[in-house]
Symmetry: C2
Subunit: 367 residues, 2 copies
């Protein structure tokens, strides 16, 4: 079965409220739905969430690179020639989100053509993921109220708290309020989205030492090379790298430089193929991972869950799979549900995702 | 004087012959001319050469990010608020060529408004640059013929030889033929554009040990983290990093990782503002630099010369300023000339560049 064409459909769906974090704010999901068509009639689907302030991609650049560059380079290849696909995609530097969506859409087509779920093809370790919910910037009491609501409605007991504000004490206060309100059994970790200097991060970690944080993610910019190393040396909790590790070579550099001690894997960033490389690298080096969220739609979250559930190292820790709860609508015909803090992996051929064509027609921006 | 608008004009000019190197081939310059308009009527100009296989940018992405994202972020800023401009540009990750063109166009406007040449504003070290010419892939005898022609027509005596082919012995043979034909007084160095594995690179360097190469550039991919370190440890000539160092943090990482011992500075990649940061970093760390060429037009080469001539460390070594010779036409009203192996820096306010509006009208692709 050969790739016969690649579609890149820009669409926009508003969030219920703007999501705020140190590297930016999003009010509307302006994404690109990628569809890989085959000569056998099977269509693989995935979602590309462009993040200019994280990877430099925009909706325009993703659409153009997928439709105008990757499409012509991949048409005619068999869907199982995944490593040929990867070689061709990798000739183009950067553009991680665009590449990831193409890769995952091809996996979806492979799964459909073989009649197997992608999660089983990837490893088939388990059929569900525990879910971690992200709490964005707001006054401390609102952050507590949101976490309590999410806990009560969805049974979620792991929270990623966005930090990186100035003054950092606003974040310390929010984390303390969350720990007090949610009690000792809830898991809390923090994500700075590069908002702090190393010295601010060191002070904040010091002041939060009694809050039993599980780990801290990307507190300072990746290019604070020596600052990050200094921070890791003194930190008593693991320091996870996220947006600084958009490809395996960057994972290697951050870990060998002593600038990180854990790795966030995002399928929206490295697809399935390269995420498996990153996972192999981390498992081989003895480094913990977390399944991260690129402010994904239900389509993206479903992909992340399929990958996370496929391997023991990714399934061990709660994955960030609930950002879609903040969207006013989504494209899946059969919506995801998080129950008892868990998201079940879609069974059935491929990724098991069916797009609601009426919704796509309503939200797409190219017609 | 405030920025009142930023124009991004896509245009295409064919090369005389396709340029071939390990990371790709270009037959037509599909660039974006960037014009920064001010409320004082002054217009600053620079050129953006997108390189999908080097930085992931395309003509579409550069045009969109400059016009749709950077423009709205910068309009209203004073042209001297360069560090505010840089902060805003840096919020968007990647897109180095787009950012560089905006930065250089603003410097052009600053120079014009102050009645001073940009090269003097940058440092004013000297008024000319020795020129190094790039010899692309071809059979060895054609590469020799091209180098001899360039030497005879322009007095150039420094050549950058593209290598990275498989088998690597084709490149060894070409370098040997060039050394034999051009004699011992000509300076030769090689650029692999990431085409070799570390083991191929090691063997090639071994076999070229008697050819008196000055240095070698980017023989293996940046993500061959340990392979590059191993290569540097055994190499008897400096190993320059080029496309692997698109921002200061990457320069730091490559140097501290022992993966490079010299740095190529390209104004088309880091503009003037960030190129000065890279230069300061290299001077502080005691590392040599070379002014590189992003297959620049005359507009781009003029910018590179203005920067290179401004500082002793960049002016010390011949800069790569002659790629424009391969273009069938250009946009400068008053063309550059290379005489006795040197390119004079444009005097007069700003960058001293005047666009031939008839030519721009002929080559632009947006009308």
């Amino acid at each position: 079965m050969k790739i016969s064409g690649i579609e890149a459909i820009p669409y926009a769906i508003p969030y219920r409220k703007p999501l705020r974090f140190a590297s930016g704010e999003v009010a509307t999901a302006e994404h690109v739905l990628v569809r890989v068509h085959t000569d056998g009639g099977i269509v693989g689907t995935a979602d590309a969430p462009p993040r200019p302030f994280t990877y430099g991609e925009t909706q325009v650049s993703v659409r153009s690179i997928v439709a105008d560059h990757f499409g012509p380079q991949l048409v005619g290849l068999g869907i199982l020639e995944r490593e040929v696909v990867r070689s061709r995609l990798e000739r183009t530097v950067g553009n991680p989100v665009a590449k990831a969506a193409v890769d995952m859409a091809i996996w979806d087509a492979i799964g459909q053509s073989l009649g197997v779920s992608v999660s089983e093809l990837l490893g088939g370790f388990t059929d569900r993921m525990r879910v971690s919910h992200m709490v964005g910037f707001a006054p401390a009491e609102e952050m507590v109220a949101e976490a309590e609501r999410i806990r009560d409605e969805h049974g979620i007991s792991t929270f990623k708290v966005k930090v990186g504000r100035k003054p950092y004490r606003d974040d310390v206060e929010a984390c303390r309020a969350l720990r007090v309100a949610l009690g000792p059994d809830v898991e809390l970790y923090v994500d700075g989205n590069r908002g702090w200097t190393p010295s601010e991060a060191a002070r904040a970690l010091q002041e939060m030492r009694d809050l039993d944080l599980t780990f801290a993610e990307e507190l300072c910019p990746a290019d604070d090379v020596l600052g990050r190393r200094w921070l890791v040396q003194q930190s008593t909790i693991p320091m996870f790298a996220d947006e600084s590790v958009s490809r395996p070579g960057e994972v290697t550099r951050e870990l060998l430089n002593g600038a990180a001690t854990g790795i966030s894997i995002k399928t929206s960033r490295t697809g399935f193929t390269t995420s498996q490389l990153v996972l192999g690298l981390c498992e081989g080096l003895g480094v913990e991972v977390v399944i991260g969220n690129q402010i994904d739609t239900q389509v993206g979250s479903l992909c992340a869950a399929a990958f996370g559930a496929a391997h023991p190292l990714t399934a061990r820790r709660a994955g960030e799979l609930s950002n879609y709860l903040d969207m006013t609508d989504d494209l899946l015909a059969d919506p995801l549900t998080i129950q008892d803090g868990e998201l079940a992996v879609r069974q059935g051929p491929g990724l098991g995702l069916v797009i609601d064509e009426d919704k796509l027609a309503r939200y797409r921006q190219d017609r």
